[in-house]
Structure formats: C-alpha cells, structure tokens
Amino acid sequence: MSSLELLTWARGPALQAALVIFIIGMLIRVLEILLLGRKTDLTRARAGQMGPGLRTIFSRSLPVSGTWKQHLSGYLWHIGFIVVLLFYAPHIQLFKQGFNIAWPALPTSLIDIITIVTMAALVFSLSLRFTDPVRRMLSTVGDYFSWLVTFLPVATGYMAFHNVGPDYTLVLALHIMSVNLLLVVFPFTKLSHAITFLFSRWYNGANAGRKGVRV
C-alpha cells in the first residue's frame, strides 16, 4: 500500500468506522451510567437541585483552595488540545467538508506555539505519574495508554505541520490514523470523562444543592 492509499483509507473508511465506534461506544458508556438509576430521595429538600447541578458543571472547572498548581498542566493541555482541534485552518476545512460549517482560524504561528505548549504539558503530566507518589499509586496501565493515544495525534500533527520525515503523505496518514485510534478507544477508557464529567458534576452539585450547600 502506498502512502497515498493509506491516507485515502485513513481519512475515508477508517475514519468513518472510528466515528461509528466512538458514537456507539459513548452511547453505551452513558447508558451504563443512566440505566443504573437512582432512588428517589425522600428527605425534605431545602432547595432545588437543577440549578445547583447545572452550576456545578461549570463552577467545578475552577480550582479550589489554592490547588491551581496541581491543575496547571491539566488546564494547559486540555485547552491547547481543544484550540488546535477547532482553530487550525486545515481542521476547519475538514469540518467544512463534513458538516458544511466553518469559522475563522487562528494564525498558524500561534497554533504552532500552542501545540508545543500542549505537548510540553502532556509530557509534564506524564512525568508526574512517574514521580509524584500519589499519582504513581493511582496510575494504571489504562492511564498510560490513554496518555499515549492523546499524545500521538498532537505529536504526529506537529510533525506533519513541520514536514518532519521524508514522506509528508505518510506522516499525515499516521496523524489521521492516530486520531482514529483515539476515537476508537475513547469510550472504553477514562477518556470518556470528557462526556461523563457532565453527569458526575451534576450529581454532586444537585445532591449538595438540595441540602442548601453550594459546592
């Protein structure tokens, strides 16, 4: 298979299959949670739970009690990842092809810097898993695997952008393949928190909210 054939396959049938697995997998993940249900709380509520639940979905993005340092690398790579995904011109081009919607892109020089910061933050997060006793204890094979499949699209994207390697087409194909891999494993690893955090934050906020506690 030539590089071009691989690229065509990666962004054609492979991407489609990956998207299908991603969507069905995430549906399974969400149903796994919701189908377990929750008993009605018979205690007399002090306040409603809807408002506090929704509020917590947003408010919990802010660090509490001086923990910003522990949050820093997390913030950097999450924001970096999303910005590059959504505001890099060729990505927007893809959205346009796929869904016929587009928006202004960020200058490529800025995207370049953000990509470097994202990779650095990811490497730092990984180093914490090895060096910080708490994170070392909590880390599972799944955590390292999740790290890898998150890092690969960023790294291969950076390589493609800077024309690293002899064959641009091959690097681009590998970039897309790494995205496909990310999509496929997403629902079955902790990466699914990208969706399930909505539920966990809501339940926590709602439970506290009905007691009249703002968490």
Partner: protein, 429 residues
C-alpha cells in the same frame, strides 16, 4: 471466593447507582483529591488519597457494570477481591476517613467521594470488616438505646440537675408540643450544660418543646459503621417517639452525624417521608434570632473562632446560622483561613473517634487544626457538635494548647440570654 468476600461484593453491587457509576467513569486519576484530605496532607502517605479508599468498589463497578470490564471478566483478566483486600481497606475506609466531605469539593470532575465512602462502609460492615469499637457501639445502640450506653436513668438524673441549674422545669414526654429535642450521647454523659441552656433559651423564646423518654438519643452509629439496617432501626425509634408525642418538629442536637442521619438519610432509610420536620438546634436558634425571640445582651471581647462541624456545615447546609449567632455577642470573632465550606475536620468524625485502633492516626492529623489555630491565635473555639468538642479538647491537650477554651454554641449563647424569670440560687453565670 469466601463467604465474606461474597457478602462484600453483593453489598457493593447494591450500592452502585447512576451517580456512583458516573463518578468512577469520570475519575482521571489526577490525585487532586489527596490535597483535600487531612489524612494525606498531615501524613504524606499516598494510601490516604480519597479515591484510593474506593479501589475495591471501583473494581466491582468495572467488572460488573462496564462494557470493557465485562469483556475483561469474560477473558478472565479481572482482578478479584480477596479477604486480604478487605482487611487492608478496612483501615482505609474507617480509620482514615471521617466522612468530612472535603474531597468532594476538590475533585475536578465532580466526584462525590464521601458519598462513595459512606456506601463502601455498607459493604465492609456487611462482610464483618468493621472496627471493633464501632461494632460495639452499634450493638449498644440497638440493645441499650445509646452507643455510649447512656440510659433513661442517666437522662433523668441530668434532667433533675438541669432543673436545679435553670430554675425551671425541663419538660419530659409532654404531648402536643411543637418541638421534640434530641440529645447526643456525649451531651447527656459529658456536656450536659446543654440541657439547662436550651431549657432557658426555649423558655425565654416561648418555644413549646419536650424531651422524650423513648426517643432522646440522636447519635446514630448505624450511619457511622455503614449499616443501613441498624441506622433505620434507630431512626424508626425517633419517628415513633415523635409521633407518640405528636410534635411538628424534631430538633437535632449539637452533633453533626446525628443531623446527617436524621435530616439527610432518615426518610430514605425507613423508606417514607417523616410526618414532622427536622431542624438542627443551631438552625432553630437562628430562626428565633430572625424572629426577634432570641434576646441576648452583653458583648464578649475574647478573640474567638468557630470550628465548623463537617456534617452540619459542609454536608448539612447549616453554614451561615452559627456565624449570625456568634456575631450577636462576639466582638472579636475571627475565621480560620479555611472555614465554612472549606473547613478542616477535627479528625474524629464519621466514627473515627469510636474506633480505638485509629487513635494514634487521629491524634496525629490534628496537626491541621493546630496549624489553623496557631495562625489566628484565639482564646476560645466555639463549635456546635459534641464530638468535635471532644476531639478539640483532646487535641489541644495533646499539643499543650489547652489554654484555649472549647465551648458549645448553644450553651455559650445561653450565657448572654436576657432573663425575665429569676434564676435558681447558686447560679453565677
């Protein structure tokens, strides 16, 4: 699999609902919850990371309730829970967690970790892996009616004493009044000044109330050990007592866990809503304040602070009320740097104080409170939980800081009460 492991796993399965599944699904193993927990911050030992205390439950959730986990199980790759695991986690779940709920504020994905620990204790208790101290306390609660072995006789003696002190009758088993007041074991046995204090306050405020000879104990060891069955039976006794006296309200004593048990778990435990409302004594005093029925006079210039009982404040929503009350008479009320929602636990809640094995650890982690107190340099700590009070007194003594006075909020306020009727002779407060 041994029988007790079986029981533990089944109990965990029963406890796992949609919120728990969402918490485990969302955890990213970032370790931030460790910084919330005084057992970690004061020891630096990673095993005290809050979410790690739930590792066994996580294994069960993964294996039974996730797609990937079931495939792993089918391939024979899942890790089973052993008797050894249960023994190891017993100390993590009971000795190094006060159910203070601080971790539930820290987790970036919003995991309500304390709720999980509470549920995990159900599995531990069901499999017989609960600390001796808590087992004994629960047994006494069921058999004698009080975890500390306090009986009606003790209460009656205290009532007599209180009547002398307050110079008025302490109502017992009075039908048709508005409020039934509960007490915690420690309040009957140790901090009994609370009885004359509320008697006088209620008298001045015109609150119609009573104690009950059948339902006087608010402490609920069932919640602490994690046995919904025991907890439900203890709650049912209160419900029966309240119904017999036909009260409209039941007052939770100055005890955090009693409040959680009664107010936020009770109806779910017995499976039906209460025919009355529950108020915490501090909540009621604050209501009386807003109604102008709590008349206090005099100002106290002592530099003092308020220690937040976790279950009343962070877990119970009675946060502003104690501060409103303190400010009625204190002119030099200072807050600890982290207070209210972010307050640090005394180290002995959630049954830790009833668990002898945990004592060295509990005394060690008091360093957090010591640090907080040293920072603001106060002469008095006011609190509103008899367990916190005990822990604070003990901790201050351990750290040679016992020049700091520890008092309960209700009785402290009673000292400033504007009194219309003459007090009994010999009372000099």
């Amino acid at each position: 699999m041994s029988e007790s492991v079986d029981r533990a796993v089944n109990a965990m399965k029963e406890q796992i609902d949609a919120p728990i599944a969402s918490y485990f699904s969302s955890c990213v193993h970032c370790g931030i919850c460790a910084d919330a927990c005084l057992f970690y911050t004061e020891t630096g030992d990673p095993q005290y990371t809050p979410i790690h205390k739930l590792d066994l439950m996580k294994r069960v959730w993964e294996r039974e309730y996730t797609f990937a986990g079931r495939i792993k199980k089918w391939l024979g790759l899942s890790r089973n829970i052993t008797e050894n695991d249960l023994t190891k986690w017993e100390t993590l779940v009971y000795d190094s967690c006060t159910l203070c709920g601080r971790c539930s504020l820290y987790c970036p994905v919003g995991n309500d970790i304390v709720t999980m620990v509470r549920k995990m204790r159900e599995a531990m208790a069901a499999s017989g892996h609960a600390p001796e101290g808590l087992q004994q306390a629960s047994k006494r609660a069921i058999e004698i009616g009080s975890p500390m072995g306090v009986t009606l006789k003790t209460l009656e003696a205290q009532i007599k004493h209180a009547e002398k002190e307050a110079g008025m009758e302490v109502p017992l088993d009075k039908q048709g009044v508005d409020y039934l007041m509960l007490l915690s074991s420690a309040e009957i046995a140790q901090f009994n000044e609370i009885i004359p204090a509320v008697t006088r306050i209620f008298h001045e405020a015109g609150v119609s109330w009573t104690l009950s000879s059948e339902a006087f104990e608010g402490t609920n060891s069932g919640i602490q050990i994690g046995s919904s069955d025991i907890a439900a039976e203890l709650i049912q006794r209160i419900v029966d007592g309240a119904q017999k006296l036909k009260v409209k309200y039941v007052i939770s004593p100055e005890c955090g866990h009693a409040y959680t048990a009664l107010r936020w778990e009770g109806p779910n435990l017995i499976g039906k809503p209460y025919p009355f409302e529950v108020v915490h004594i501090i909540e009621l005093l604050d209501q009386l304040r807003t109604q102008g029925k709590l008349k206090l006079e005099g100002k106290d210039e002592t530099r003092q602070t308020f220690h937040d009982p976790c279950q009343m404040v962070r877990r119970g929503g009675v946060m502003e009320q104690p501060r409103n009350l303190m400010n009625m008479v204190a002119t030099d009320f200072v807050e600890m740097t982290e207070h209210s929602l972010m307050g640090w636990c005394c180290g002995g809640g959630g049954g830790v104080s009833a668990n002898e094995r945990a004592e060295p650890l509990r005394r060690k982690v008091f360093s957090k409170k010591r640090e907080q107190l040293e920072e603001i340099g106060v002469e008095r700590i006011v609190t509103a939980c008899s367990n916190c009070r005990n822990m604070l007194e003990e901790g201050l003594e351990d750290n040679n800081m016992d020049e700091i006075e520890v008092v309960g909020l209700s009785e402290w306020l009673a000292e400033y009460l504007v009194t219309s009727s003459p007090r009994a002779a010999g009372d000099d407060s």
